[in-house]
Every structure is written in structure tokens, then in C-alpha cells.
């Protein structure tokens, strides 16, 4: 059984991106938008769809284009009984190796039939293209292959293909969509519970004596575990050891409008900084390295640790307003060097 009790909120990693195609794939996908499938003749055979190189030798495959398909022959297949949103068809379908007429190597594509009983090695299939004007220069411009009504060889397959001087398709849009569910590791659970209770918790390495603060259960110098028996409450005062002033640019999710500070705070008596901390009470322009600060918590009911992952060792999530200057004289640099950043 899987213990899901420490699972965090799902994290959705989504981003669009565009790939350039290069001359060979541009030629192939440009031809595809007109309903013409092509391969490239290299090393005495026709590779379809074409590659820029001969996979046997690594040699440049050149540009001796050859018309292939639209009919072809299935050499192996499998059945997808429950398609996912990544698949091109919503109903059960087959994936198959299809060697297009005029080609010597197969391609992988989908075959749209009602049941696996209709699939067999050697069956003749035919490409069904998207209607003219809807083609985007992607492999799914072939909606699917279907059993060929007339199994006779494709007309024109094997003939040379004259590529237009300027390809119409030179890039391909893609979208990354991945979902992650991490779980809060034991040191993360201890740290976030402390934050919700208004405590900063740390662990001191019994070997080197360094004190680490945050969601961390090991000494990264001695490479030993620091177990929960070593957890103690840390002071809530410290020194700014580094900072940056960020001028916000507006992007989706950005809530800041004015320049703001993110700084590292070394708690008094510890050896590892809390990173990405905010400063309150003074303008960004007055923040200094060496400045003594003290923690200002959010009210107890408003402390949210759900954004704290296992990665940000010292992150305080949405539990604090920030750090305000105490007014003490600044600490000389030699008193806070040689620490864990």
C-alpha cells in the first residue's frame, strides 16, 4: 500500500514551447500540409518519414526526396483500450508500424478500427488527412490510418518529390503538461509544524557543531543524518547576510508592483541562512548587509505552509510578514562568513 497521508498539493508543470524544424523536417511537414507524404533516399533505401542523417552510418541524408504512401502495410501493432488525453484519438485504437508504399522503413502511427480483431500483420492501411486548411504541419495532420478500401499499391509512390524552394512550415508548437505529487519528507513536516506554531526549529550536528535551520535533516558537511532528537527552537533574531532588490516585471501570478527585497537571514547562533526572506518597516533602499533583524509572524490562524516543498530548506512559506530592523549597530562581516548558504 502507498502511504498518501503526507502528500502535498499536486504541482502542475505546464509550458508551451516552439521547436524549429530544420530543413529536412520542414520539407516533410510542409509537404504533409498538402496531403503529400515523403521520405528521403539514403544509403540505398528510402527512410520515411525522413531524418537528417542515415541512422546506420550517421552520414548526412541529403535531400533526395521520394513520394511515399498514402497507403502502407502494417508490420506490428498494439491496441490502446483506454486512450488518454495525449493520444490523438478519443476512442480505442491501434498503434502500428506502417511501412508506406515506396518506403523501406516503417513509421509509427494510429489505426482507427473498432476492435483489435480487425488488426493483423500485413494488413493494408491508408492515411486519412485533416481537411485542407486545418493542417498544422504536425504528424497528427494524419488523423489516422484506416483499412485501405483498395489494397493495390499507392499511385506515384517511389517517384521523386520536388520540394518547393520555401517551406511553409518551419516550426512546431508543443506543450509540456506534467503533474507531480511530492510528499512532505519528515524534516519538512517538523519544520512546517514549527512555523505554524510560531517557532523556528533547527538541528545542531553532533560532529561539526554547525546548526542548520529549516526543512533539513542532515549535515551536508559531515554527511550524517540529524534526527528529530536534535531538534531545538532557534532565536527569532538574526543578521542580513545578503540581499537583492527586485524590480517586478508583470507576469501571470506576479502580485508585487513596487521594488522589493529578498534577503538571506542568518539566525543568531546558527550556521545556515534562511533564504528568500522579506524585509518590513524600512524602504528597500535602506536594507544593508550586516543589519540586525527580528521576525514578524503572521497571526497564528493565517500561517500557510502549503507552498513549502522539500527543496527550500529555509523557506518560511506564507507564515511571516517579514523581518524588521532591530536598530542595533550593524554586525561586522567577519562575524558571519564561512557558513552554509
Amino acid at each position: 500500500m502507498t502511504d498518501t497521508s503526507y502528500d502535498m498539493e499536486p504541482f502542475n508543470l505546464q509550458f508551451p514551447f516552439t521547436r524549429t524544424l530544420g530543413s529536412t523536417l520542414s520539407t516533410f511537414f510542409s509537404a504533409l500540409t498538402t496531403g503529400q507524404l515523403i521520405g528521403v533516399r539514403v544509403g540505398g533505401r528510402v527512410i520515411a518519414p525522413p531524418l537528417e542523417y542515415d541512422p546506420e552510418t550517421g552520414a548526412d541524408a541529403g535531400s533526395e526526396w521520394v513520394k511515399v504512401g498514402p497507403k502502407g502495410t502494417v508490420s506490428t501493432w498494439t491496441w490502446v483500450p483506454q486512450p488518454t488525453n495525449l493520444h490523438p484519438l478519443r476512442t480505442p485504437f491501434a498503434f502500428a508500424f506502417i511501412t508506406l508504399d515506396g518506403a523501406d522503413t516503417p513509421m509509427i502511427h494510429v489505426v482507427d478500427v473498432d476492435s483489435p480483431e480487425e488488426m493483423e500483420r500485413g494488413m493494408r492501411v491508408e492515411a486519412q488527412f485533416k481537411p485542407e486548411g486545418e493542417a498544422a504541419g504536425r504528424l497528427d495532420d494524419i488523423v489516422a490510418f484506416v483499412p485501405a478500401e483498395d489494397p493495390s499499391p499507392s499511385e506515384g509512390a517511389g517517384e521523386p518529390y520536388e520540394a518547393p524552394a520555401d517551406p511553409t512550415v518551419e516550426s512546431m508548437d508543443a506543450f509540456c503538461d506534467l503533474t507531480y505529487v511530492d510528499n512532505a519528507a519528515p524534516p519538512t513536516r517538523v519544520w512546517t509544524q514549527g512555523l505554524r506554531e510560531g517557532k523556528l526549529l533547527g538541528r545542531t550536528c553532533p560532529q561539526c557543531g554547525r546548526t542548520f535551520v529549516g526543512a533539513i535533516g542532515l549535515c551536508c558537511v559531515d554527511a550524517i543524518e540529524l534526527d528529530e532528537s536534535l531538534v531545538t527552537e532557534m532565536p527569532q533574531t538574526g543578521v542580513v547576510t545578503n540581499f537583492t532588490v527586485i524590480t517586478p516585471v508583470q507576469y501571470h501570478g506576479q502580485q508585487e508592483t513596487e521594488p522589493f527585497v529578498r534577503c538571506s537571514v542568518m539566525l543568531d547562533g546558527t550556521d545556515a541562512v534562511l533564504g528568500q526572506q522579506s524585509i518590513v518597516g524600512i524602504p528597500a533602499s535602506e536594507v544593508r548587509v550586516g543589519m540586525h533583524v527580528e521576525l514578524v509572524w503572521k497571526p497564528e490562524g493565517e500561517r500557510d505552509t502549503s507552498e513549502i516543498g522539500n527543496g527550500g530548506h529555509g523557506s518560511t512559506g506564507d507564515t511571516v510578514e517579514g523581518w524588521k530592523p532591530t536598530g542595533q549597530p550593524d554586525e561586522p562581516a567577519e562575524n558571519y562568513v564561512d557558513r552554509m548558504m
Binding site: I47, P49, P88, F97, M107, I108, T179, A185
Partner: protein, 356 residues
């Protein structure tokens, strides 16, 4: 055969528990495993000349996770460190080559994979050829099933033989304390299960596993200083086929495995045990054929990848299991194999030998 200063041996190894869902981060899994292997070799972290790991940020979903994982080495004062976005056995290959330079005599190689954070069906589909495969959602199960079907149609294997592979591996895994899947199963019952991707059934797929493994290597006579019975790596080779399965001359064979085995010198003597990385059950039969293994070789006494499949670690586990046969079970010559990529695209073969 007398050993020279250019001979490299495994002198310690360790692995974490193999779990469907570990509560630990990759770094935490690595800390106990890497330091455990170093301790097993009677060394401390400061004795290690070179450190290398294999992992993939996209598994745990944490950018630069391999950098955070360096915390597990105790990397202060600074160490010599490297990383491969591949199975830990390829990291071990890098450590092996690094040791051959002759200026250091110890190295540690690890693999770690927090696989439970992501969905393999989605993740590996996005990792396929971005022009010709990913737009079709060509998922790893479908690609494996296309290979399996080709083997059936070629008359090379039967579904019953494949079910027997599953039964044998799961039964063998009963003796493997780290196995995630094990037990006694009936061939006919397995054959009555539904297809996930015809002809692949659910039991033909590897489990999803979180885990870590590490080995310590030593060069020349240092190996004898550190352990009583070093496991010598007498040959290691890695061969790669085209990434598009459709570009292979024969999808039912594994020529890269055969070439890697030749390169590693597999044929120079009998092989008592072979630990094969076959993520999909039927691939064990392809590998057995490519390696020319006969009845004298015990295949996957650990249960193989069907018993536990921490991606980025499974191959290094094969090395550890093959080494264990020499270090602990009195065997003299064993083989470890790792695969990577769709339909057995990449294959690494490693020959391990103990002294007579």
C-alpha cells in the same frame, strides 16, 4: 588471473528499501545509501577520490535536484563530482573510466530515483522523439507492446513463455528482501488477465519504485586493502541503437546488447548468473537470446526489474545483485546488464569476476 593496478573492483555496495512511495527525498535516500556503501568498503567520505550519480530531475519534479543531492556526499571541503542523466550503472561506467586515469584509487557511483512523484505514462511519452512520436502520444507501454507483438508474429516467443518469465521472476524475488513485487503465481491465471496494450498485460509491466543504490570502486591493490573478496569489473561496454524504434533493422533482436557483450568479453568464460534489466517481461527473452545465455546461467535470481524498478537505479541494482553473487554467494563470474530508452535502445553489459 593476477590483478594489475589497472584492474578495478567493486569493494562495497548498498541499497535503500525499494518502495512504491518513499516518504524521503532523493537526497535523504542517497545520504544513507551512499554513506552506507562507503562504510561497507571500510572507508569514510574523505577517502573518496571521485563521486558520480545518475538521476533525472523530471522524475521527482524538482529542478536541479541533482545539485541538492550533493548534500549526501558531505561535499565540503569541495569534492570531485559528476552526474549523468542516466541510470546509476552508467555513472559507475564513468567512475570506472575515471579510475583508469590512474591518479586516484577510489570512487563512488550512485543512482537515485523518486519515481512516485510523477506519472510514467505521461512523462516518458513527453521524452520520446518530439516530432514523430510525442505528438501521437506514443507511450512506453505501446512501444513495448509493438516490440512484443513483432516477436510473437516472428514466432520467436509465445505469450506462455512470457508469463513463465513473470512467474519465475516473482518467485525468485521471494528471496530478495528488497523486492517490491514477489510471490507465487500461476501461468494460466496470468494469461487470463486483460491486456493493457495487446499483447502486454499488467503483470508484464515493471512496478513504480522509489529507491537508491550505490557502489564503491577501488583500483589495483587498494581493492585488497579494503575488502576480502573484491568483485572485479573485467569488462564493461555500452552500445546504442537509433532512438526511433522504427529505424532498427530488426525490432525483435537486440544487436546493441550483443555488441556490448562482445565488447565486455562476455564470451571469455562461462557466466554463472546474469542480472538482466528487462523493464518489460518479454524483453528478458530478447536479452537472453542476444547474450547467448544457456541453461547453465541463472537469470535474475533477484527477480529483476519486475521485482523493483526504481528508474535511474534499476541497472545499478543489477550490478549490485551480480556482484553480491560473487562477494557473498561464492560465484566466480557473473554478468550485469542495463537498458535505457524505448524498446531496448541502449544497452550496457558488465562482466564481474571474483578471484579463484
Amino acid at each position: 588471473m593476477p590483478r594489475t593496478e589497472n584492474d578495478i573492483a567493486i569493494v562495497g555496495f548498498a541499497q535503500s528499501p525499494m518502495l512504491r512511495r518513499s516518504e524521503h527525498t532523493e537526497t535523504e535516500m542517497m545520504l544513507s545509501t551512499v554513506q552506507g556503501a562507503i562504510k561497507e568498503a571500510n572507508l569514510t567520505k574523505d577517502d573518496i577520490g571521485f563521486t558520480v550519480s545518475g538521476s533525472c530531475d523530471y522524475l521527482s519534479g524538482r529542478g536541479f535536484s541533482f545539485v541538492a543531492n550533493v548534500d549526501a556526499y558531505g561535499a565540503y571541503p569541495p569534492i570531485n563530482e559528476s552526474h549523468v542523466e542516466m541510470d546509476g550503472s552508467f555513472a559507475m561506467y564513468e567512475a570506472f573510466v575515471r579510475l583508469l586515469q590512474g591518479d586516484i584509487d577510489t570512487a563512488v557511483a550512485a543512482g537515485v530515483g523518486k519515481n512516485s512523484n510523477s506519472d510514467p505514462e505521461t512523462l516518458y511519452t513527453i521524452e520520446m522523439d518530439p516530432y514523430y512520436l510525442t505528438p501521437l502520444g506514443a507511450d512506453p507501454w505501446s512501444l513495448a507492446a509493438l516490440q512484443y507483438r513483432a516477436l510473437l508474429d516472428a514466432g520467436k516467443i509465445t505469450e506462455r513463455q512470457v508469463a513463465e518469465v513473470v512467474v519465475r521472476n516473482r518467485a525468485s524475488a521471494k528471496d530478495n528482501a528488497n523486492a517490491q513485487v514477489s510471490g507465487d503465481f500461476d501461468v494460466d491465471e496470468l494469461l487470463s488477465a486483460d491486456y493493457v496494450r495487446d499483447p502486454l498485460r499488467r503483470h508484464d509491466l515493471p512496478p513504480i519504485t522509489d529507491g537508491c543504490a550505490a557502489v564503491v570502486l577501488a583500483r589495483g591493490k587498494r581493492a585488497y586493502d579494503l575488502c576480502e573478496r573484491p568483485v572485479w569489473i573485467t569488462g564493461i561496454d555500452h552500445r546504442i541503437e537509433p532512438h526511433l524504434p522504427t529505424m532498427r533493422a530488426d525490432i525483435t533482436a537486440s544487436p546493441s546488447t550483443r555488441l556490448a557483450a562482445e565488447g565486455a568479453g562476455a564470451g571469455n568464460g562461462p557466466i554463472e548468473v546474469a542480472e538482466l534489466h528487462a523493464p518489460f517481461s518479454f524483453q528478458e527473452l530478447v536479452l537472453t537470446e542476444a547474450l547467448g545465455l544457456g541453461g547453465d546461467t541463472a537469470v535474475n535470481p533477484s527477480g529483476g526489474a519486475l521485482a523493483a524498478n526504481p528508474v535511474m537505479v534499476t541497472g545499478l541494482l543489477r550490478v549490485i545483485e551480480a556482484a553480491r553473487q560473487i562477494a557473498e554467494n561464492g560465484k566466480h563470474r557473473t554478468l550485469a546488464h542495463t537498458t535505457s530508452g524505448p524498446c531496448l535502445q541502449q544497452n550496457l553489459v558488465c562482466i564481474l569476476e571474483g578471484d579463484e
